[in-house]
Amino acid sequence: MTDHTAVVVGGNRIPFARSHGAYRQASNIDMLTAALDGLAARFGLAGHRVGEVVGGAVLKHSRDFNLTREAVLGSSLDAHTPACELQQACATGLEATIYVSNKIRLGQIADGIAGGADSVSDAPMAISDGLRHALIRASAAKTLPARLQALSSIRPGHLVPDPPGITEPRTGLSMGEHQALTTTRWGISRTDQDELALSSHLNLARAWSEGFFDDLVTPYLGVTKDQGVRADTTMEKLSKLKPVFGRGEGATMTAGNSTGFFDGAAVAYLAEAGYAAEHHLPALARIVDAEVAAVDYTLGGEDLLLAPTYAIPRLLERNGLSWQDFDYYEIHEAFAATVLATLDALSDETYCRSKLGLSGDLGEIDRSRLNVNGSSLAAGHPFAATGGRIVPTLAKLLHQRGSVDGRPARGIVSVCAAGGQGAVAILEAC
């Protein structure tokens, strides 16, 4: 054991923009670089050698094999700053935060940056396997006839490019289709979903108007605010939208209560507590502990996006906490129904006993503590950027709250991810 404490110093992101819009010319590297530069400006990190910068992107070009390091080199950080690319689908930013905090707690680095970027607008387009194999064979061929023979195997159908898929390779279902199954299984109503979406928009809009994001966001390419947030949305407007996922009675998921496609980048700045104090860096919140879980959604038939329900009880038990012991819950809104199914599952005795092996369910939580300054439904969800959005947001909320009943304010972050994974972390106010 060591006595190193990892704290969140702050964060920075660019406003999240609707795909094919303001950031259509920006690559993942461009956006991640902008997020790093805004962070550097906020904390005076220009020319500073950071312990490590960790993050990645989900939709990625093969040429960006060193995405994070390239972003560092393009930023104002000292070029001696090492970087590591890490990707865990939508949980990328949170997993990167866990990675950095672990290194800090082990004393391997004194400070680090965690985050990610994602662009749907600049998504890679692959060539078909047939064409690719023919080209590889041709380039390996030693003689001209052999080369021509290799190329002659190309068929017109091979020339159609493969667009990037967001379907699960093992099930062929999109994430929305998977969630629709879960939504039906848990009987999540349309009204509940729309209400959650509404409060996400209203909460985010309020936070923006209160200036909450003034020291968390730096404008980019003329965009000064998240483009997804609709301060004027109402239940009436949301209820008019047509379902886009699911069939029949289960068709309750609309564009209003599901996240759309967004471009963006976000980073969190972490440091060892003593280092932060010495360098006059604020300590907003301490990273207490984290847990990552996965579900068997292929053969086991489990819910693709409910892996956090496995991670949360394990994390609570290890820390001697109950599900009600938190002042803030930040549960990533992939879909409104994901959040609602997660909460339902954890308060469902059968599920908790049979699936999670618990002696009973975890109970209900105070919903007024959930995503109090909005979440992905309003802010948008550029996949790898979401963790870097949530962690600094929660850390700032905790710091502002200070203490509750004589103990530091406490928060939990939960992010579900493609591949049936989920990352969860506990933070405590400094």
Binding site: A40, A41, F43, S76, G211, D214, T218, Y220, H280, L281
Partner: protein
């Protein structure tokens, strides 16, 4: 003596319109015929005149000589135009004595000015010097402030120098400038050094025809002579994301300051670029918030330590909402007054109350006035009011802050070439650019250099002053 015939074409050539036409590509050939000079590239930065510095000390006055010695500047003997000193030129006319080679600067120490007959000496030293002055050369008058005399004659003469200085500035060519410094009888070389140095160096490129006062303060030789006066000091600059504000931030950083760049959240991207370039920190903040001063102080205390204090703040942020008064409603009126004036008043109050991260004793405040405020400007009733009020603010607060060793001054920019002024229609812009003695617009760095001079710890004796950076604009004082 035959008088030079006035060429009507030459008179016409000096009108703003002609100068404007002259700098357009179409007008180039016409301009050449009219004899309108192209804009001279001014000497800028911490660069000294190339030529020698001639020191003209009336009645063996010593203040300027000692100050130049403190600054390590050598001087040469002054040439004085007297009837006896003249020689016959090729044309058979008498020629005043001249300098060998080009003269870098003429510095006149007139602190012993007593009687009107003394002014003949002033004329005598100016004539040869002006004939020999290099491009971007300098004429610097140093005299006692009129109010420092009890007797009438020197008192009115000291005021008379103001008209002389402004005329010399108008007659000089090739980017050369003339300025007048009024000192206190107790002013010492240490207190005068920063001002003399600023005027000699290229930093004062666009300050012309101005007069301001240097008072009394203890300034050590080290402080007076350093090139990095802001080393170890933190300075906040509002409106730092672009234009003049970005230049101010860069100039303070060049001189050693740690800069806190402040701008509205919407300008954060540009602000980040500027502060990262100069290794400062960015604070995205709307300065019209009631607690803006508190947030600036909190940022300083948080980023630089609980004991950290701001050495200086530059209130650069400003907006325009131009409308003729007949079209001006309460919104356009108030927005400008809030940003340009009230925000500054509120921030000063909070930063001066001794809180952590607030303004340190011995520090400085610099505001931005404007030619529009000093002279008035059509369509800028709101702006001109706010900018004239800055002059009032500086004059009112200087004595209040004196016992804490805090200086407060302002600059008054004339036509400065920025993104904002680039939007002015071409011909109008040309007229603005040319309507001053240097026949060109100023650069953002010219304003920045003047601000950095005023805020300099070595300028502790300079407070309550408004220095225009306008190339001696035709309008205003």
């Amino acid at each position: 003596m035959p008088r030079k015939k006035v060429d009507p074409l030459e008179v016409l050539a000096t009108t703003p319109l002609a100068k404007a036409v002259a700098s357009s590509s179409i007008g180039k050939s016409v301009a050449t015929k009219l004899g309108v000079p192209p804009a001279v590239e001014l000497r800028r930065g911490r660069n000294n005149p190339r030529g020698a510095i001639s020191l003209a000390a009336l009645s063996n006055a010593t203040l300027v000589g000692s100050t130049l010695a403190l600054l390590g500047r050598d001087t040469i003997n002054v040439k004085v135009d007297t009837p006896d000193a003249r020689t016959l030129g090729d044309s058979g006319r008498p020629v005043p004595p001249g300098y060998e080679g080009r003269l870098g600067a003429l510095v006149l120490d007139l602190t012993e000015l007593r009687a009107v007959k003394d002014l003949e000496y002033v004329r005598g030293v100016l004539r040869p010097a002006i004939r020999s002055l290099e491009r971007s050369g300098r004429v610097i008058f140093v005299a006692r402030a009129p109010e420092s005399y009890d007797e009438l004659e020197p008192r009115v003469l000291a005021q008379g120098l103001d008209g002389l200085n402004r005329t010399v500035a108008k007659e000089l060519r090739g980017g050369a400038t003339s300025n007048l410094i009024w000192v206190d009888p107790e002013t010492r070389p240490g207190g005068l050094a920063s001002t003399l140095r600023f005027l000699l160096e290229g930093r004062s490129a666009y300050v012309d025809g101005q007069s301001w006062r240097v008072g009394v303060a203890e300034v050590s030789d080290d402080v007076a002579t350093t090139d990095r006066p802001y080393a170890g000091k933190t300075v906040a600059v509002t409106g730092a994301a672009r234009g003049i504000g970005a230049a101010i931030a860069r100039t303070f950083a060049r001189d050693g300051a740690t800069v806190v760049g402040v701008d509205v959240p919407a300008s954060g991207e540009a602000l980040a670029k500027v502060v990262n370039e100069i290794h400062g920190t960015a604070l995205q903040l709307d300065i019209t918030l009631p607690d803006a001063g508190e947030r600036i102080a909190a940022h300083v205390a948080e980023r630089y330590g609980e004991d950290a204090r701001l050495y200086g703040i530059v209130h650069n942020a400003g907006i325009t909402r131009d409308r003729m008064l007949v079209n001006l409603d309460e919104k356009g009126w108030d927005a400008v007054l809030q940003v340009n004036l009230m925000a500054q008043l509120r921030m000063n109050e909070l930063l001066l109350d001794g809180r952590p991260g607030g303004l340190a004793d011995g520090g400085s405040i610099v505001g931005i006035s404007s030619t529009s405020g000093i002279a008035g400007n059509k369509g800028q009733a709101n702006y001109a009011t706010s900018k004239a009020a800055i002059v009032g603010l500086v004059r009112a607060m200087a004595p209040q802050l004196a016992d804490r060793g805090i200086t407060i001054n302002a600059v008054g920019p004339g036509f400065i070439e920025t993104e904002m002024t680039a939007a002015i229609p071409y011909l109008q812009r040309q007229i603005f650019q040319r309507s001053n003695s240097l026949a060109q617009g100023g650069k953002p760095v010219d304003v920045a250099e003047t601000i950095a001079y005023l805020a300099d710890p070595a300028s502790a004796a300079v407070t309550g002053q408004v220095v225009r950076v306008c190339g001696q604009a035709l309008v205003g004082q």
